[in-house]
Assembly symmetry: C2
Homo-oligomer: 455 residues x 2
């Protein structure tokens, strides 16, 4: 049903502009530069050509079929333009423009809603940032473009979406789809969750939510999706002051946070409470990795960060058991200065082979559910050597269906090795605690799958 | 007493080497390249010259007085070298070498201790990463060099120190002093805390701690320091598994975490639980800013991140009250589309003057204790304009002794403005939650000062 929003065969940009910085210019430019292959129809009564494309003075001038219209004109002008869209037979419209219920113009919003219903037009928005589908080269948004990946973001807030995408770009994390649904006068978070649930390139669904108008439908959609892929939510308005803020922001009351929390649990949704944790969680869950059991082992070349990882793991409910006698035997090739209890401390001079050999033993041991591997390179060790050991041993972890998460510290010293690890599909974090929290999400996801399958 | 460790007039590097990658090479190179102005005496029986300096075959060959000796030779060779140091009259020694109690060689450690006591030698280490004093151009460590600033780090773990410094460099955060004290056979965390308490260039003290052997002395030293400047601790070994890990790492039991927690509270120490929070807390407390009261106001151009900031503030105990009638009156110049309740949402098209005028009102209002200012630049706004407004209004905040913390999101889009803000002493974070947690630390510090002054 929503396919024409994410894979439109032709697009009209109503309010297309020649002026850089204008929404109607930036969206058109994004669509063209993003490599969209369908037909593009800029619409503006005052222009004949924009960005080397013929500009139409109104929708009616366009002879071809228009699959999707994007509207970026002042709010008050929208009803008549939407009428034109209906007459023209356009069935899918994104209204970028703000100035509706979020600022008290409920009457105008209701008029738009009625026109859309009368013509059978589906609406995303108003007051939104548009849609991105990297796998279709569709950048129907004024947000910066992003690279392909498996994360799809459904965001009630446009600016949150922008902040997320720029952060994802910065961390070299790929996006599948992005949709900012704004005031949701028609298509809402539940429709979008259902669409993403069946979307092949979406490996994990992230949702920024302030409120939902239909809790039952949200639970139903989220539960359906959770059975197929991880669903992660960052729910804003969880405190009294936060609720007051959401009223001002989207005009809707955020509601009792305990009810939301229970709903998320029931639906198998993974809830996070922080922007950093939101992006880290989506990043790790996109990998599709699942621990083979709950026992997490830490491998490190530095004691302090190893202890911090163990602390955080246990604090957030992971098991970090001492190595069994059998496992210790298998690790007896390590020099006596090394610690083999868990954390397994390979000490500062650990090189490629000490890391590789240790990780191989852990990958092959049934008592190990997942591994966090830490490297704080001393001056006499090239972190790239350690990164290579990790990349080389990955095949064994994959074969044993066991996650391995890396933590390389810090900054420029490890920038190149972090890049290399990411290129080779090793998830990597810059602090032990973030690596631990990522591992916890994999354990949590596994438990959710087991629960949803048995229910 | 510890001055000769941090401001030595001459240094001998025992175990100096010609081989890059060797500890004895890297420390010598760091000392030379760091711009140390005192005399440098490399010591190595097999070399006549290292890095264009005369190399002495043993300590006795040096005719001049040696203020500080740094030892980086195999552990077993240390007793006889330390005897030589004693005979030569060297009173301050850093033992970098590992291989003592942390790997079970308690007898060797005791021998070293006795020799030092007999000669009245003070020891930092063994099993440590050395000392840095950026304000004296002293980089007597194999860690990468760092820029000057007000943070001093006392770290039980050498690798933690390395990870911290590289991260600080990456975030362009400056360091005053760094000392990794390792096995602490003589000088321990309490001695170092007392030294930092009186050190003029140290604005905030950060401690990575696994265990302390003398809890009373720690509380006494930390309390003394806390009265003068903020003391922040990241305590590893807070869980059962974490404790097991510290035993392996430093050979000492971490002890009951509740006892540590109570001790930290008593001493006015700010405790954090996470590497990111540790560096963020030191970074914000270094500014010396204190809120004028507990009421925090959020200014934003984007609803979602504004709500996240409010949520986090309230969740961690800050007050984010609705603006008073009087304050709303003062903000009535804002366009009606803006929200003036708190968060104060200036909406997407907020420019220099809308930010400047709003921030000026908040700086001058008695009901405002501190401000978090958020910018998620839409495509048509240059974030540098917003950054300039923040920098230009800073003088009023300074005059009113009121903190202003910025949050610019995200990545490359705001990299230049973040750099500009930092250059102009505006603390800036990349997520609303981290900005909120930073503000909380300022509120906490204020309460600690009040409590310590009244006790």
């Amino acid at each position: 049903m929503l396919q024409s929003f994410f894979e439109p065969k032709s697009i009209a940009i109503i309010g297309a502009s020649k002026k850089p910085g204008k929404i109607g210019y930036e969206i058109l430019k994004n669509i063209i530069e993003g490599g969209y292959v369908g037909k593009i129809f800029p619409v503006n009564p005052k222009e004949n050509e924009i960005l080397s494309l013929r500009c139409y003075h109104n929708i009616k001038e366009i002879k071809d079929h228009v699959d999707l219209a994007i509207i970026a004109i002042p709010a008050t002008a929208i009803p008549s333009v939407l009428e034109d869209c209906g007459v023209k037979g356009i069935k899918n419209v994104i209204i970028i423009s703000a100035g509706f219920s979020e600022v008290g113009n409920i009457e105008l919003e209701n008029r738009v809603k009625k026109i859309a219903q009368r013509h059978g037009i589906r609406i995303v928005g108003p007051n939104c940032a548009g849609i991105i589908n990297t796998w279709y080269n569709l950048f129907a948004s004024f947000e910066v473009r992003c690279k392909r990946g498996g994360i799809s973001l459904i965001s009630q807030s446009g600016a949150f979406g922008g902040a997320f995408i720029t952060r994802a770009n910065y961390e070299n994390v790929g996006i599948s789809k992005f949709v900012s649904y704004g005031n949701a006068i028609d298509i809402n978070e539940s429709h979008l969750i259902r669409y993403m649930a069946d979307d092949k390139t979406t490996k994990v669904i992230g949702i920024y939510l302030e409120s939902t108008k239909d809790g039952r439908e949200f639970i139903s959609a989220a539960k359906l999706a959770s059975k197929k892929k991880p669903v992660v939510v960052l729910k804003a308005g969880r405190t009294m002051s936060g609720k007051r803020a959401t009223v001002s922001h989207t005009g809707s009351l955020a509601g009792d946070d305990k009810i939301y929390d229970a709903a998320f649990r029931q639906a198998g949704v993974i809830r996070v409470f922080d922007f950093d944790d939101f992006i880290d969680t989506l990043y790790i869950l996109e990998t599709g990795m699942l621990p083979s059991n709950d026992n997490i082992f830490i491998v490190t070349n530095s004691g302090g960060p190893g202890v911090l990882a163990v602390d955080e793991c246990e604090y957030i409910g992971l098991k970090v058991p001492e190595s069994s006698y059998e496992l210790k035997e298998k690790l007896s090739f390590l020099p006596p200065i090394c610690t083999i209890k868990n954390p397994i401390d390979l000490v500062a001079d650990a090189n490629y082979s000490r890391y590789y050999d240790t990780l191989k033993v852990l990958a092959e041991s049934n008592e190990v559910g997942g591994v966090i591997v830490i490297c704080v390179p001393p001056i006499f060790i090239d972190p790239m050597d350690i990164a290579k050991a990790i990349v080389d041993v990955k095949a064994i972890f994959d074969e044993k269906k066991k996650p391995m998460i890396a933590c390389f510290m810090s900054g420029d010293v490890v920038a190149e090795s972090i890049k290399f690890l990411k290129e080779n599909k090793i998830p990597v974090f810059q602090t032990p605690e973030r690596a631990a929290r990522a591992m916890q999400k994999l354990v949590l996801r596994k438990k959710i799958i087991e629960r949803l399958q048995s229910s």
